[in-house]
Symmetry: C2
């Protein structure tokens, strides 16, 4: 159950941060966390360093590590980059994708549709993930695929929330279909544009969501 290796600690800490267990600017106390995970400071420090590099925390020498929850501006920036990266995937995939993969995407989309009809946001989320994973893969560029996964992973909690917005799931579905259509035609520019817009919309929706929460609170 409680794996104690340095990399698993990093994963657990990352999950904690991503799910918002810490506020922005919170200092992560080495000894405290070491106790919590029942390890010494050595492996814990290694885990913290990992998080520092991936940008989830900031390491200030001789001061400690502090969680860095992205603010609205940085989030928009990250969504913008995600949009460009996925657009690149689409652009490349348009000329590289084969019929089997296209069929896979259609399948994923069909399952998305089922989820939409069942108003099952969790299910939709999972199938949506699958759709995007295929897109990354079909870029035919393993490095790009990895970069996409990295950022995708980081944006997970925020993407997830905007899905619950009224009418977002059907809209997202329609965008998916437009993407597949462009890929089928082998229209690289159109595929890139569709994907870019699809992801950018996620960022905007999330932004609206945050603004709404602020206004309500």
């Amino acid at each position: 159950m409680n794996q104690k290796r340095a990399d698993t600690i990093a994963e657990q800490l990352e999950a904690l941060i991503l799910e918002g267990a810490f506020a922005d600017g919170d200092r992560l106390d080495e000894v405290q966390l070491a106790e919590r995970f029942d390890v010494s400071r050595t492996p814990l420090r290694e885990a913290l360093q990992r998080l520092a590099i991936s940008g989830l925390v900031e390491h200030i020498p001789r001061r400690g590590v502090f969680v860095r929850q992205p603010g609205p501006v940085e989030l928009m920036e990250m969504f913008e980059v995600m949009a460009e990266l996925e657009a690149a995937c689409a652009r490349l995939a348009a000329t590289r994708i084969n019929d089997d993969a296209l069929e896979e995407m259609r399948e994923a989309n069909a399952k998305c549709l089922t989820a939409v009809e069942a108003r099952d946001a969790d299910r939709y989320y999972i199938e949506n993930e699958r759709f995007h994973a295929i897109l990354y893969r079909q870029s035919g560029n393993g490095f790009l695929e990895e970069e996409c996964r990295r950022l995708h992973r980081r944006l997970t909690p925020f993407r997830r929330r905007q899905l619950h917005l009224r009418g977002r799931m059907p809209q997202s579905m329609a965008e998916h279909e437009a993407i597949v259509a462009a890929l089928e035609r082998g229209d690289a520019a159109a595929a890139a544009d569709e994907v870019r817009r699809h992801v950018a919309v996620q960022g905007e929706k999330f932004h609206h969501l945050m603004a709404g929460l602020k206004a309500a609170g």
Copy 2:
């Protein structure tokens, strides 16, 4: 002179790897390197972990860390991603750049031209770096800027080599000017295309270079 902090060690090791001091698959011995840098294994291990995350070395649990020099395929993939990231910068910069920054780019280009005329590849390289740095900045997206810098840094040694190819510097210059022209017109699509091609060419040139070396050896 010999700074001994963990992050500086990471930098020095990174430089060593990037400049090809180790062959692909070489194991990096902790105690050996610790002696070499005159530190204990603890800070050295932290440095190695950093390199592992940035992908320069692979860490296999209980086995050690091994340098991972990118092969031709991975290099092409990285250049392709670099091209897409920089194209994204250009696309965004086309609508966000201001006159001052445009002037800066023209300046950098002028200095590039001076270097070309002097056949000074090192000087050209530096001014070329500056040109691209401005482009990243003018995307108006700090996160994108950082991502670009990260990958740019990783590709440095390879980009540097292809510059010495016959006729490459004047060609690169011309591409720069086309980029600035597109940005001046505020033509996002054209700017993106020009930049994408400019960077993609670097990858291709490097590929040719490698193929040539292989044939010669």
